[in-house]
Every structure is written in structure tokens, then in C-alpha cells.
Amino acid sequence: MENLGLLAANLLSPIILAFVLGVLAALLRSDLRLPEGLYDALSIYLLLAIGLKGGVELNQTPPGEFVGPALLTLLLGVLTPMIAYNVLRRLGRFDRVNASAIAAHYGSVSAVTFIVAITFGSMTGQEPEGFMPALVAILEVPAIVVALMIAFTREKRVGSWRGALHEVLAGRSVVLLAGGLIIGVLVGPSGFEPVAPFFASGFQGALALFLLELGIVAARRLTDLRKVGAFLLAFGILLPIFHGVLAVWLGGFVGLSLAGSAVFGAMVSSASYIAAPAAVRIALPEANPTYYLTASLGITFPFNVTLGIPLYYAVAGWLYV
């Protein structure tokens, strides 16, 4: 009942509806597109903003509180790509290259899914821990490294392993997220104040605009659904649920609040579609982009922002009573 309330609250937020509008616009073959510059601008703004806000909060957090969640994040960053890989190999019968390519995406994290989860929390009056963005930064990289190692341990590859690593570590999502975090920690609440109106107040509106574009992009992926087959479709929904519930459950043990572990679940369940694809394209060019892009962007992302996030909150609420 109240869970249905959660679901409605999420589906009726301007942010999700903007995503839906984007999907519809694409299906109507509308000429509506965000100019590429705006798309980049918004992603830069959003990543820097969550970094900054996370840093400011971290500046106020006793280290003790943060250690546990940080280590757990690291652990799941190593574990989840392995789970994904084995599911894809054994159940999905994917060849090694494509299996590790997809695993890299599902081990890593989608910053936007994270932001939507945060926003959902504050909409429903449940504030997660302020240091969550720091966990996103921690979660982004390891999974990609692990998945690529799985692929490279076997026969020599054509792709560039070091090139891929640089692509991830110096990639703009890590730089902005980590950079924002450090700045936030250094300046603290008082230093953040003058830039707050720009980075805090404008945040959710900018996110709505960004999701409008993501909707357009995701809709184009939908046409590829047939190509990827039923297994990947199921995989793109069930694995996130498994990863998500696992993370929510473990979140309790490291002292995360209800909202905190719900957001943590959303993070872990999400599939990267910016950092991972770029790295994989360089390291494993023979992997088929249609698989990993359609799964992460066409299946898992829409599922998470609409049904997944409320689900993780519901599970958290249920585990925390």
C-alpha cells in the first residue's frame, strides 16, 4: 500500500516524467534533441555538484562512520562484476569477451541512477547519509578493472589495456566526482555557501532536463531490444534486483540509515553507461556494443529509475523494521 505510494511518488516526480517525455518524443520521431553542448554541460554540472555536496558533507562526517561503508563499496565493486560475469557465461552462454564487457558495466555505477535515488529520498523526506557521493566515486572504477582483467588474463587481446585504464581513471566522471569531493572537503559548508545557489538550488531542475535527453537516447536503444534477445532482457532486470537487494541488506551491517542503504542499493544495482562503455570500447573492441549498451541504457537504467528505486526503498523499509 504505502509501497504503492512510494512508487507513485517516484513515477509522478517531474524528473521521471521528463524521462518519459523524452522517450515519447523519440517514439514520435520529434526533432526534439538537447544540443550536444547542453548534454555535456549538464553532465559536467551534475557530476561536479554531487561531488561538491558529498565533499561538504564528508567534511562534517566522523571518519569512523565512513570507513565501513567505504570498505563495503570496495568489496561489492570487486564482487558484483564477478557475479555478473559468471551468470552471463554459465546461464547466458556468452563468449568470454562479451561476458566481461557486460560485467564491467554492471559492476560499475550509473551516476544518474544514484542522483535519482537521492532525489527520490529527499522528495519522500528521507535523507540518506551525506557522504554517499564519495561511495559512488569508490564504486565506479574497481569493477571495470576487475572485468577487464578477467578478459585479459586469457589470450593476448588486440585492445589497449593501459589505454582503457587511463580512460577510466582520467575520465571526466571520475575527475569531476573525485575533484568535487576534494574541493568540498577542503572548503567545507562555509566555503560552499556562495556557490550553493548555483550547485544546490538549480540541481533538480537541471536533472530533469538531463533525463529528458536520456529518455530520447534510451528510446533509440529500445529498437535494439529484439537483437539482444530474451536472456539479456531478463538479466538486465533480475541481476540489478539481486545486486540491489544484496547491497541494501549489507548496508545495514555497516551502519547505513534506511535511506542510505536504499540509495546504496540503487548504486550497486545500477549499470554504468559512460565510464564503462568508453573503457570497454578501447580494451575489448571485439565485444559487441549493442549488447552492453542496450542492457545498461535500454533496460536497466529505465527499470531502476522507475521501479527499481522505489523497490530498494521498500526493501530497506522492510528490513529496517
Binding site: 550536444e36 588486440v158 589497449s160 589505454g163 537516447v217 533509440r220 553507461y273 559512460i274 562503455p277 568508453a278 570500447r281 578501447i282 573492441p285 571485439e286 556494443p289 549498451l293 541504457l297
Partner: protein, 100 residues
């Protein structure tokens, strides 16, 4: 006005190759290049510009020898797995000796 006939090599590829291609062009002897943003469609279908940006279109004026080297290199390094197309034309370049 005296002109030199050089090879105009045009390369269109997915953007992710930008840095590598430009570096390698230099190593293969190209003295310069002109790059424009592009989008396109080919046998691999529309480039997924949402995750790697649009294609790039690189033009470089080089000597026939360098042109062959570039073609060789790209063919056996990128053709198999990446979206890339290469074609050659002749061009009469003013002050062309500067570019060989």
C-alpha cells in the same frame, strides 16, 4: 602560382580513436591534419553518439609514400573491430613542399 600534387587522405572513424589516430598519423610522417566533427552511418549502423560522441573526420595532406603507410597502418590496426573508413584523393596544394 606553383602547386604540388599531394595525397589527401580522409579518415572517418568513431571519436574514441581520436587521440590514438592523431598521434599515429604524426608518427607515420603526416605534417599536419584538419579535423571536423561528423556523424554518419555505415555497415555497423549509426554510431552510438550518446556514449562516445559523434564520429570524427580527419583530413591530412601527405606524400604518396606516407599515404600508403597510413592506409596500411589503419587497415591492419583498426579495420576489423572499429568503425572507420579511409579514402584517398589527389590535391594540388599551394606551398605544398611544406607538407611533405
Amino acid at each position: 602560382m606553383k602547386t604540388t600534387t599531394l595525397k589527401l587522405v580522409t579518415i572517418v572513424s568513431e571519436r574514441i580513436l581520436e587521440d590514438r589516430l592523431l598521434r599515429e598519423l604524426g608518427e607515420l610522417g603526416a605534417k599536419g591534419y584538419t579535423l571536423t566533427q561528423a556523424t554518419g552511418k555505415g555497415s555497423r549502423g549509426v554510431r552510438a553518439s550518446e556514449w562516445e560522441g559523434p564520429d570524427i573526420r580527419i583530413e591530412t595532406l601527405v606524400s604518396p609514400a606516407v599515404a600508403d603507410a597510413i592506409v596500411e597502418h589503419i587497415a591492419d590496426r583498426y579495420f576489423e573491430h572499429y568503425a572507420v573508413i579511409v579514402y584517398l584523393q589527389e590535391a594540388d596544394v599551394v606551398r605544398g613542399e611544406k607538407y611533405v
